[in-house]
């Protein structure tokens, strides 16, 4: 456990060291290369800034309207409790839109049921095997001006659903 956290703390500095060391061995012009890349990174962020603002406003409005939480309540009535615990639905749905908002809901569940309860375990797994669909899609696609995303959304939803089902089954087995 301690070792795991140490590795995750140390991995970035070690990586930076390796990159620089390897480049200097090959007599790379490291600072010039760095600046060239940094400039690209700068332009990319400026390019996706309007996208991010537009997306986050839309997600913010949707969340404030109460639609996502109500959707979770309705789904909870349709889906039997044994298949998917209804208290976990808000976290599962919000995670598709916003990672930080989902983290808040996960922590609420930890507080109420405890991280080692069945619900706590399921939600830990859910958070570990899903990503924010809409954020990733809009940032990546908009950065290269893609409007037609074809089967990306369908694939993302199928993969997320598989992850959710696996989380519930594995979480109940633990």
């Amino acid at each position: 456990m301690k070792l795991l956290l140490y590795i995750s703390d140390a991995i970035i500095p070690i990586l930076l060291f390796i990159i620089l060391f390897h480049a200097l061995l090959g007599k790379g012009r490291v600072y010039e290369d760095f600046l060239e890349g940094a400039k690209d990174g700068f332009h990319t962020v400026i390019g996706i800034m309007p996208t991010l603002i537009g997306l986050m406003c839309a997600v913010g409005v949707l969340r404030a309207s109460g639609f996502l939480t109500d959707l979770a309540v309705w789904l909870g009535k349709i889906i039997p409790e044994e298949v998917f615990p209804s208290v976990l639905l808000p976290a599962a749905i919000v995670k598709m839109f916003s990672s930080s908002a989902a983290t808040g809901l996960v922590l609420d569940i930890f507080k109420e049921y405890g991280p080692d309860s069945s619900n706590g375990l399921i939600v830990s797994l859910m958070g570990s095997c899903t990503e924010t669909i809409f954020y990733t899609m809009s940032v990546y696609f908009m950065s290269v001006g893609i409007r037609k995303t074809r089967w990306t959304l369908a694939g993302a939803l199928v993969a997320t659903l598989a992850g959710l089902i696996a989380s519930v089954i594995l979480g109940q087995m633990l």
Binding site: V61, T103, S128, K148
Partner: protein, 195 residues
């Protein structure tokens, strides 16, 4: 993307109207805009630094070595990219950063990969190529092996064994990624890219 975005906004406004949450919606739109700008400022620093470091690794050939190790896997997932080494270098960096849970290193590499994929795309302007779709679905399926954040939250909230989820989390991630790969392979079979 157009419908998705407009749909979220319209649904939010109409639904919020019925529930009498109009004030909250105005507030959310304004505060989200502000939040997005501060996120961008954070991102600006991270992206400049990390894309800069990545450029060093790219020039020195470190990324190529990395991509060569992943070559069999990448050629299976992206059969049309056999000769596109630069795109594969960035994809390999993104995949590895994701596996180790370095989200802030994965995004810059992912965006660079998208730019390379756009250069070799055989689709019309504004239409995603199959390689782009596959790459994104894989990213969304989550590749992270050890859920470090989640383990930290669990220990913060008094779990007796915070890291007990590691094994099952790897399994759950493997399942969602496997489903994603199968889906992408089937979808790629279905429709031919336009030349």
């Amino acid at each position: 993307m157009n419908y998705l975005w407009a749909g979220m906004l319209l649904l939010g406004i109409v639904y919020g109207g019925f529930r009498g949450e109009m004030a909250a919606i105005t507030e959310a739109a304004l505060s989200s805009a502000k939040e997005a700008v501060s996120l961008c400022i954070t991102l600006l620093g991270v992206m400049c630094f990390w894309v800069g470091m990545m450029n060093i690794a790219q020039k020195s050939g470190l990324l190529r070595t990395l991509a060569e190790k992943l070559d069999p896997l990448l050629n299976f997932l992206f059969p049309t990219l056999k000769k596109e080494t630069k795109a594969k270098e960035y994809i390999a960096t993104n995949v590895i950063a994701n596996i180790f849970g370095l989200g802030w290193a994965a995004t810059p590499a992912g965006l660079s990969a998208m730019q390379e994929l756009k250069k070799v795309s055989r689709q019309k302007e504004g239409v995603a190529s199959r390689e782009m779709c596959t790459f994104l679905v894989l990213n969304i399926s989550s590749l992270q092996l050890i859920p470090v954040n989640m383990i930290a939250y669990r220990s913060q909230y008094g779990s007796a064994n915070p890291s007990m989820i590691t094994g099952p989390a790897i399994l759950a991630t493997a399942i969602s990624t496997l489903v994603a790969v199968i889906f992408c392979k089937l979808a790629c079979m279905g429709r031919e890219d336009r030349l």
